[in-house]
Symmetry: C2
């Protein structure tokens, strides 16, 4: 079933503002069983979307987590019913800055600033509408992992199992810094026009630069060296010019430009802001363990050894807090040369871990 | 003696092009002795300049290496005569894209692409003009260290001692990637206008974004966390907006904007390109040791444990190559929480090492 969306009424946000009408677009895979006990919520990362296991309507590319989701795969569609919603603030059908405000024009920068918890509350409203009281599991990587951690903190009784992959319980200063570079790149593009560009030319140059900067953080230095090194692009010698002499330049430019075909610049601003604001401990008196006291949710935390965006040390902090809260938690650091992106790739060990955890 | 410059005639570049007239601006500190044997060449980094130990004429800030250069300091002005030239391609008096081309208008992007070796050859011409045949030492950090390595490879008989600090013998894929983000940010700024902006508004927005992205790479994650963490800027609570809520955002924005007052965007393009092109081994049949065979130059290599721009592993490669070439080399990894920037700071141990090495 593709291209579904639900209109879910008003949503009160962490900022205190009220979003008058929330729509959540989502994809589902597999079949909900009779007692509605086999649902798994898959939460997506910053620039991902609901097309976790189906073809993206704009790019035509296959789902971004086909490694994990499918019949007989770790998130087994022969057994589980998977719901993947587009997050609040995004641009693939769920309410965000591209959506019409009450005056009928796109929200643009009039859209209220949102948080990861707001995204999760929007998803909870979707589950209410679908009649799903409790989830077999919530699973997600990167910003998806932040949603997983928030789900288990906000709705412990609704989450039997929570798998948080390549993520952190708060955004670090360095992560905020990279996001700020991206936002400033977008805002420096005159086509951004204060976010009011929907009837004109979008700020594709600024968004492409933002994507390029972020993309570097998704890869490890070792991975970049292995994949590109200092190899030249379609030439035998340096051009002594400013063309993309090196493969890494050509690759980054392509990543930047192709991103602008499928993503909205204002959505990028809002979602990066939500991630910067994310600090689960802060919302619990500075003590992360307090977010999970008395929980009966089972947790699985996975990190990757070359991920420098959300390094293993951040996962360890989550694990220590969960243990301090008396939660049942398993933790694995997987080895991969591909940095943060490893959570999207066919990283050895990840399939067995997710399959084993989901049972 | 401040504000000196020499007109040095034509310079043939690695690209094969000929720069018809080369001017090199430089500062000197201390006194040249009678047999002209006490000269130390100090080479500056990407966005630095000749004002290593004197006040910057635009910012009014003190010299960037006053920790090391001064009477009684490691680069002891009671004993040594220090020459610090502005590099080729820069914008503080040495020929670069802001300089007049033969038609009287600024070169802009008509300026030929340059290399680190071209910078060094320009400095050699300056030394010729100053009547300095041999240097007691060449010392530099970051891109300054690349010049040090090139000096010792190109003119071994002119360099008695070479200190290469926080540097590498080639630019990695990740380093090229960060530079490419900066260049694309500049070129995406409509004020850049293909580099032809000298009679109009310069591309300050793009240059500021480029500086912000680069600045993140100069600091360590631990240093950023220690210095800023997730602390808010002049407020008690998040604003739920896009102002600089976090100190790190405010700091980065300031770094970006203040940089544009003292640096030229086209110079940034050319100098980053020169760094990307830098690969000393490549110029010697892929074997770095071949660059130093039979050398009698003494080397000192210094790295910092939290520098992820030029990590210690890159310094080790230099040291291994020098040892393979039979060169005399000492190597120290210093501990600092401040990442790459440690070479500009009062990092414990650095003064003794430089003083001890220079003798």
């Amino acid at each position: 079933m593709a291209g579904q969306a639900r209109v879910l009424g008003a949503l009160t946000l962490d900022s205190g503002e009220v979003l008058p009408e929330l729509t959540v677009a989502y994809e589902t895979y597999g079949t909900l069983n009779e007692d509605r006990s086999n649902a798994i919520l898959v939460c997506h990362a910053l620039t991902m979307d609901q097309y976790a296991a189906s073809t993206h309507p704009i790019t035509g590319k296959p789902g971004w987590w086909l490694n994990l989701i499918g019949p007989g795969k770790p998130i087994d569609l022969d057994r589980y019913f998977v719901i993947c919603p587009n997050v609040l603030g995004s641009c693939l059908g769920t309410t965000g800055p591209t959506s019409p405000a009450p005056d009928g024009k796109p929200w643009g920068m009039r859209f209220p600033v949102i948080t990861i918890a707001d995204m999760v509350r929007a998803q909870a409203k979707l589950l209410d509408a679908l009649g799903i009281e409790q989830l077999h599991a919530v699973v997600g990587g990167s910003m998806g992992g932040m949603q997983v951690l928030s789900w288990a903190a906000l709705y412990p009784e609704r989450v039997r199992n929570a798998a948080a992959i390549a993520t952190a319980a708060r955004h670090s200063a360095q992560n905020i810094a990279f996001h700020e570079v991206g936002r400033q790149a977008i805002m420096a593009d005159p086509h951004w026009a204060g976010g009011d560009y929907y009837e004109g030319t979008p700020p594709t140059s600024g968004l492409a630069v933002a994507r390029m900067a972020a993309h570097i953080t998704y890869l490890s230095e070792a991975g970049l060296t292995e994949k590109f090194g200092r190899r030249l692009q379609d030439r035998d010698a340096k051009s002594f010019g400013f063309d993309a002499d090196f493969q890494i330049e050509s690759y980054l430019r392509h990543q930047g430009v192709s991103f602008t075909d499928r993503f909205d610049a204002n959505s990028y601003l809002y979602i990066t802001r939500a991630m910067d604001y994310f600090d689960l401990a802060e919302a619990h008196g500075g003590k992360l363990a307090a977010a999970y006291e008395g929980t009966s949710t089972r947790f699985c935390v996975v990190s990757f050894d070359t991920d420098w965006l959300y390094p293993t040390s951040e996962s360890r902090e989550i694990v220590h807090a969960l243990m301090a809260a008396g939660a049942e938690v398993s933790f694995v650091e997987l080895s991969s040369p591909f940095g943060h992106d490893a959570f999207l790739l066919n990283t050895p060990g990840m399939d067995q871990i997710v399959a084993g955890f989901l049972g």
